[in-house]
Amino acid sequence: MKLLVPVKRVIDYNVKPRIAADGSGVDLANVKMSMNPFDEISVEEAVRLKEAGIADEIVVVSIGPAKAQEILRTALAMGADRAILIETDVSVEPLGVAKLLAKLVAEEEPGLVILGKQAIDDDSNQTGQMLAALLGWAQGTFASKIEVEGDNVVVTREVDGGLETVQLTLPAIVTTDLRLNEPRYASLPSIMKAKTKPMATRTPGDYDIDIAPRLTTLTVSEPPKRTAGIKVADVDELVAKLKALGVAA
């Protein structure tokens, strides 16, 4: 079975974003960028499925600027077989990404597409579900366990009250949650080897679809600041405060 794994280049999760002074967005100039953490988990899971003999090829794809090649190389170093970059300098919304991915699915015919549950920049949590809808496939979102069993994939999902297990007919879409696995670090030899793995480049124009944005961002602003608090000296003072708040009798 072939696996398709979409990955996104985002601001590194340890960086505190700075809002541009004109309120147009978040300032990404000279900021460290990395692979979206949930996508690292997707790549890791794909590699594990290949190591288990369930998958025979892993194709990673990213939609973004030329620099997204770097994260595709990271995915290749982790064990993916080849990469596709759909190069564009404009930002594409989840619906547009899902439409491009649907085209790619038609070309590549994977048995399973593994995406992260959300990107940590726009926090949308939409692309996987939208892709499933466009393809008419089943979806297993927020996966903490994935088991391929014959023509089905059994997915354990992290839901609000605990865990839920669903069985999906293949081909299917799975989105990964943090607990699915611990992504590996690429070794130096595998990083060197990744440089020779194939990377194809396309543009959104190669696919005859409308990916024009539907949402206009009017402003981006700082969240409301919390007013500075006080420090209490001891437990007695804290107890007094708790009583004043009405949470302790």
Partner: protein
């Protein structure tokens, strides 16, 4: 605008998460509800009592039990021919279903809105809540998920909606529910609690977590939360996690014990009314947002606190 709101329910009971979603929908206009499931008569009756609602569309079919998106999304899409917007709470169920509906309608979803600024304009958090974006949609139909803590809950009583059966769209035969493991807790539900006591990595292991945080939470009639570090280290199950990738909470009082305050954690709790931090590192980032801070060792502070409360 005629809005269809997803009614969240479990085990025959309507869930409170529905109420802030109705509150957001009220700002758009006429509110209709959708109750989808199997044997949901009591849920529909409860939903009809929500203040200010019109028709309650009830789809009662085995195919809708467990809200599998493959079966539920076509049902919603069929109802959308007569509605202008679909609104769901940003719970795991809402997040699972709404984007599938949006793509089937060929519209962009607006995720986890914090406010309704106009009929087509909304605010939503991006970058783990470190920025707030105001977005305007050009789509003719709206699909929206609502962050529960950002809207006042509407009154669950006082309404008199009309219950109407909806024809089932059937089973897509793509997916099957296998089972659910629901974490058992006698304490208040995390996203609903007025008081939350959360523990972090400093709790060392599950035994000390339980021995330290649980009695304090019980004394304060609080729900128990945890940082990702505590969850990853296996002190408590995943569903205790508060943060960007866990639950977003906004209780009256949030007590962070042994939590440093990484940005991913703050994203899940910084809208709490009062934040109390107990940490031995006086430079911990949590103190920058805490209303009340106490610097010291939690292993001496918490027992003393229990004694004096």
């Amino acid at each position: 605008m005629k809005t269809l709101v997803w009614v969240e329910h479990e085990a025959g009971l309507m869930k409170d998460a529905t109420l802030p979603a109705v509150s957001a929908a009220t700002k758009l206009g006429e509110v209709h509800l959708l109750v989808a499931g199997s044997g949901v008569g009591a849920v529909a009756a409860a939903a009809a009592k929500i203040a200010g609602v019109g028709t309650i569309h009830v789809a009662d079919d085995a195919a809708f039990e467990h809200a599998l998106p493959e079966n539920v999304a076509p049902l919603i899409v069929a109802l959308m021919s007569d509605h202008d917007a679909f609104v769901a709470p940003a719970t795991t169920t809402g997040k699972n279903i709404a984007p599938r509906v949006a793509a089937m309608l060929d519209v962009m979803q607006i995720s986890e809105i914090l406010s309704v600024e106009g009929a087509d304009t909304f605010t939503r958090p991006i970058y783990a809540g470190n920025a707030i974006a105001t977005v305007r949609t050009s789509d003719s139909k709206l699909v929206i998920t609502v962050r529960g803590t950002a809207f006042v809950k509407v009154d669950a009583e006082g309404g008199s909606g009309e219950i109407m059966a909806v024809a089932s769209t059937g089973n897509a035969e793509l997916s099957k529910f296998v089972n659910a493991e629901i974490a058992k807790s006698e304490r208040p539900e995390l996203t609903n609690a007025k008081v939350i006591v959360s523990g972090g990595r400093a709790l060392k292991n599950s035994e000390t977590f339980e021995a330290t945080i649980f009695p304090l939470a019980d004394r304060l009639r609080a729900a128990v939360g945890a940082s990702r570090a505590a969850v990853d280290a296996g002190y408590v199950p995943n569903d205790y996690q508060v943060g960007q990738t866990g639950k977003i909470v906004a209780p009256d009082v949030y007590m962070a014990v042994g939590i440093s305050g990484a940005i991913q954690h703050l994203a899940g709790m910084k809208d709490s009314k009062t934040i109390i931090a107990i940490n031995k590192d006086e430079d911990a980032p949590i103190f920058q947002i805490a209303d009340i801070g106490l610097v010291g060792d939690l292993y001496t502070i918490v027992p003393e606190l229990l004694e004096k409360l």
